[in-house]
Symmetry: C2
Subunit: 133 residues, 2 copies
DNA sequence: GCTACTATTTAGGCAAACCTAAATTATAAG
DNA sequence: CTTATAATTTAGGTTTGCCTAAATAGTAGC
């Protein structure tokens, strides 16, 4: 039941870029899964009242699903920032998406706080990149 | 095939504290799994030549298994340090064990490097704890 | 408004990990 | 040395998440 998070996050992100409902094929591509796997997972999420589905057209987050998706997105952004700025690693957005759903609430929350603090009063020594501008 | 890492790491840690072979029941307790699940996983690891098993007595890492276990342990230590010192979270060793096996090589490696750098020339502003001594 | 094409869903199967209960093996006590 | 107890393994089953192939629904061109 951990993989569900990835679909919620992908759906959340997709809904920011195009208007719902999001075709299952689009999610399948984002997550590198078969269309069939995506349909199946969306049905599971629907039964958990996290998404609304319009068969053959697409899916969209319910209110509850959007709340969860937003949390995941915050964590995802914080993780991406951490990978890029602290660990000096590019192109790790996919891993950030995967990990966002695997961390405990407390770790996720502290990580988000860390990013916010860092944006408020930047601390150059935290940014380990060679050339940060 | 991601859960296997946890057993390797637990076995690696157990082997530091007591002499091999490590009874499956001991691993089961460390990982909060049933004895049956542990036996099954050890058999799988054995078929992958990562552990040697002595039925009804216990298991020990092979050379290959120990290499992998050591990597996982480094990552685990770095993660524990990160949780405690950067995120100011205690009692997250269990989560560190779980996550150690889920991260990519590159992220794990950078995290370990970060810890080593930090030990060489400590940077107080990275340690976000209120009272660190 | 058909028809051909594309996208989605359904059907059927598989592998990884887990569990409980039953069987087996090891061990400790008398 | 035998037996009772404790630990481990085997047997049988479940859930999650994935896949391919077949069926179905939607859509665009004529």
């Amino acid at each position: 039941m951990k993989e569900t998070a990835q679909y919620l996050l992908a759906l959340y992100i997709a809904e920011q870029r195009r208007s719902p409902p999001i075709p299952s094929g689009h999610l399948a591509e984002m997550l590198d899964r078969s269309p069939a796997a995506t349909t199946e997972m969306l049905q599971r999420l629907e039964s958990e009242k996290l998404v609304d589905r319009e068969p053959y057209h697409g899916a969209m987050l319910t209110e509850t699903g959007r709340e969860r998706g937003e949390e995941l997105h915050e964590t995802y952004v914080a993780l991406s920032w951490f990978f890029r700025t602290v660990l000096d690693l590019d192109s790790h957005e996919q891993e950030a998406m995967e990990m966002a759903g695997l961390m405990s609430q407390s770790v996720a929350q502290r990580l988000v706080t860390l990013l916010l603090d860092e944006n408020e009063q930047p601390n150059p020594s935290v940014d380990t990149r060679q050339d940060n501008h």
